[in-house]
Amino acid sequence: MADFLLVAAGFVLASVALGLVRILRGPNDADRIMAAQLLGTGGIAALLLLAQAISMPGAVDVALILALLAAFVSVAFVKGVDHSEVDGA
């Protein structure tokens, strides 16, 4: 079971890493934040699978923080985009 979960974690991370190519290609900020979002969700999934695989319950708290702070960062992002439109005009 542990091996299966570890492989699943690796698979999710790998498929998310492919999504990162999207960051590299741009072309605009919306795409980039989307790729970061995908990495966030995938990272949380990989972390949870990993936590179960190596039975480290503390890692679930890490995923909890990541999920919470992902929401925080996304608000900061949107505010940033709004402000730079105002400032840059």
Binding site: G42, A45, V60
Partner: protein, 97 residues
């Protein structure tokens, strides 16, 4: 009993992994920001949902289970918010991007 739970976990995690792959493919293949957004926000949150569902079968105790569900809800909230706002900024900038 434990065997049955393991099977359920494996099935759910596999489904979740499939959705992650689907989301990535959508992200890479769709031509414009809005349809990529559509692919991403549905697929990856569903993927995370299935992974968490799978792990729920292994959860020890109610608190651990609640924490897992809470993580999913946070991720949904973040995803939904960002999706709305990205779509709004994308539309306001007026291009199909």
């Amino acid at each position: 009993m434990s065997f049955a739970l393991d099977v359920l976990t494996i099935l759910a995690v596999l489904t979740g992994a499939f959705f992650f792959l689907a989301g990535t493919v959508g992200l890479l293949r769709f031509p414009d920001s809005l349809s990529r957004l559509h692919a991403l926000t549905k697929a990856d949150n569903l993927g995370l949902g299935f992974v968490i569902l799978g792990l729920l079968f292994q959860a020890e105790g109610l608190f651990a289970a609640l924490k897992l569900v809470g993580i999913w809800l946070f991720a949904l909230l973040a995803g939904a918010t960002v999706a709305q706002l990205i779509a709004r900024t994308a539309r306001m900038s007026g291009s199909t991007m």
